[in-house]
Symmetry: C2
Subunit: 342 residues, 2 copies
């Protein structure tokens, strides 16, 4: 039976993961969950962000379900680099999976795009590129200061994430992969990505492909988001594009994500894209849908495709039945989703 | 009297710059323009992209007006790196200026945003960052291949563009500057940008400021574009954000840009953001508005603020009077704009 580590985190994090756990338990009776205390609160209490001992414990789980970490009181970067990025790198979560869907019953900001017309997934590389942390500063705080950031890209790292994207496209209806990079300017890394893409493509003859520069893709995600099926891109481009994708599908409130080690050598981590929203924390009014959709990604990753589909279907019904703008209770939504999915 | 080099370029480039020149001549009688032949056509004919001799001639002009360069028949990168980026670097065009406006009479893709509600300008750094071309490839085409791209940032380069952004904000009504970077991940370069921003801010006490991570900014440009006044950011982030900005204001068809050397030690270059559109080239149906708006930026840069304002006003009237979707003739639009501006 699956063992899941639950990091509720800060703000609304524990509230929404509570519902996600409820839903997982409903479709997977007997699942074992263990709570871990990480985030701003622990950082303030103990100074610890992600102790190696906790990392080693988490390594023994099948997956990690995370709510949200962060609070304005913590200096920027501390939890991001020390916890979220450390987990991606230490657990080799090289597929950062971010589905985007304009759900029936919801409204996006694009006047001409109807629910159901946006349905794509971004496969963002998670362990390389500008996120490697390479770079430095010389002559700090003088007129001569220089600062560098280095994007590191390996054939190994690029190929495995592109393969994953093609494999996902093959399981989808439209079977199309869009590579996004900036080959006309970033010729070194862009060349590696483009050549690797061409090589992998040969192994997936039933998948159609296209290439777009990142600036064009950023535009088309607004003007023509329906054209995408699977998008594969590097770490930083993926960071930006998935926020545009969330914006055109009604905001990060509904967006789910997974940081995945496909081989399951390490636990994968699943979290809603939204933050800890300290302003509404503790009131029981946060929408747990993004956390529950993240749980669906978790179930799918652990091989429970049917259960995952039932959870997604429950969310679809929930959203279709909602009156836009009507208040909701976090626990009620969780109860409804758990009942509908079981 | 101002001397302007005109690079019509490929596709619809010469058609739209023709109208822009017409408008400039109407507001600045006696202006001298000289045509230069650069772009895909010349590349195919002679193999030349941007010969040093032409660069040295252009250096003697007050400004360059460019239409569009590029054609699917030219390998990607050749004209981009060899002409456009080379001009930015050789002429030290460190302010890449991109105004975004949702013009009355036009319709953007955002259902809830009305014309007039978007009016901001992105000041994109133009001579540093990942565009420096630093990086390389090892073990090409082997499983051991690695590719790097290095972002190079100097206090000198960052400070001058941030100063320019603050100075522009000071001349605008809302007087607000938003710095966009990714300080939580790109700590080296992000630190330099953030510290420099704080230092420059002290010299502009009447300007309000905010900071956003690039992923959040990409989202807010879709969900809340009205909040921006002046946005200052690095070269690559600016590339992406300005395409989102163009998307939410009705597409690149109306977007103007300037690659500016504010001290006028070198000529600045002004061009519409759209491409050469080979499919409609030669038919006389391309909309010259983006080229004419670029001419307005050119006039402003050369110290002809009144003339620039008259050109912008002529465009505003033209757009307000249009029936969306109605066909237009390139030369007729140019005639109307020239008449209205003079
Ligand atoms: C919090 C931050 C480090 C992170 C990232 O940049 O990847 C976030 O923006 C995300 O997209 O998960
Ligand atoms: C053509 C390309 C090199 C250029 C850039 O990346 O700057 C373009 O996208 C732009 O925004 O002007």
């Amino acid at each position: 039976m699956a063992r899941i580590a639950v990091v509720g985190g800060d703000g609304i994090g524990p509230e929404v993961t509570g519902q996600a756990v409820k839903v997982i338990q409903a479709v997977l009776p007997g699942v074992e969950t263990v709570d871990y205390d990480l985030g701003a609160a622990r950082y303030h209490r103990t100074g610890e962000v992600f102790p190696d001992s906790v990392r080693d414990e988490l390594a023994g789980f099948d997956a990690v379900l995370l709510g949200a970490v962060g609070d304005p009181s913590v200096p920027p970067g501390v939890l991001e680099r020390g916890l979220l990025l450390k987990m991606r790198f230490d657990f080799d979560q090289y597929v950062n999976l971010r589905p985007s869907k304009l759900w029936p019953g919801t409204a996006g900001p694009l006047g001409a795009v109807k629910p159901g017309e946006i349905d794509f997934v971004v496969v963002r590389e998670g362990t390389e590129g500008l996120y490697a942390g390479a770079g430095g500063v010389l002559h700090r705080n003088t007129p001569a200061e220089i600062a560098t950031e280095e994007s590191l890209n390996t054939r190994f790292g690029v190929e495995r994430v592109i393969r994953d994207a093609f494999a996902r496209a093959q399981r989808r209806e439209r079977r199309k992969v869009t590579l996004v990079h900036k080959t006309n300017v970033l010729t070194h890394a862009g060349g590696l990505w483009a050549r690797t893409f061409e090589a992998v493509k040969a192994d997936f003859p039933d998948v159609t492909t296209e290439y777009q520069h990142v600036d064009a893709a950023a535009m088309f995600m607004v003007t023509a988001p329906s054209r995408y099926d699977v998008v594969v891109t590097d770490n930083l481009f993926g960071d930006i594009l998935t926020d545009i994708a969330a914006a055109v599908t009604g905001g990060i409130g509904l967006a789910a994500s997974g940081c995945i080690n496909p081989e399951r050598r390490f636990p994968s981590m699943f979290e809603p894209v939204h933050g800890s929203a300290p302003d509404i924390a503790g009131k029981g009014v946060a929408d747990p849908v993004a956390a529950v959709l993240s749980a669906s990604l978790l179930l799918d990753h652990l091989g429970h495709a049917d259960e995952a589909a039932r959870v997604t279907q429950a969310v679809a019904s929930e959203l279709a039945a909602r009156t836009p703008g009507a208040p909701l209770r976090t626990a009620d939504v969780g109860d409804r989703l758990a009942a509908a999915a079981s």
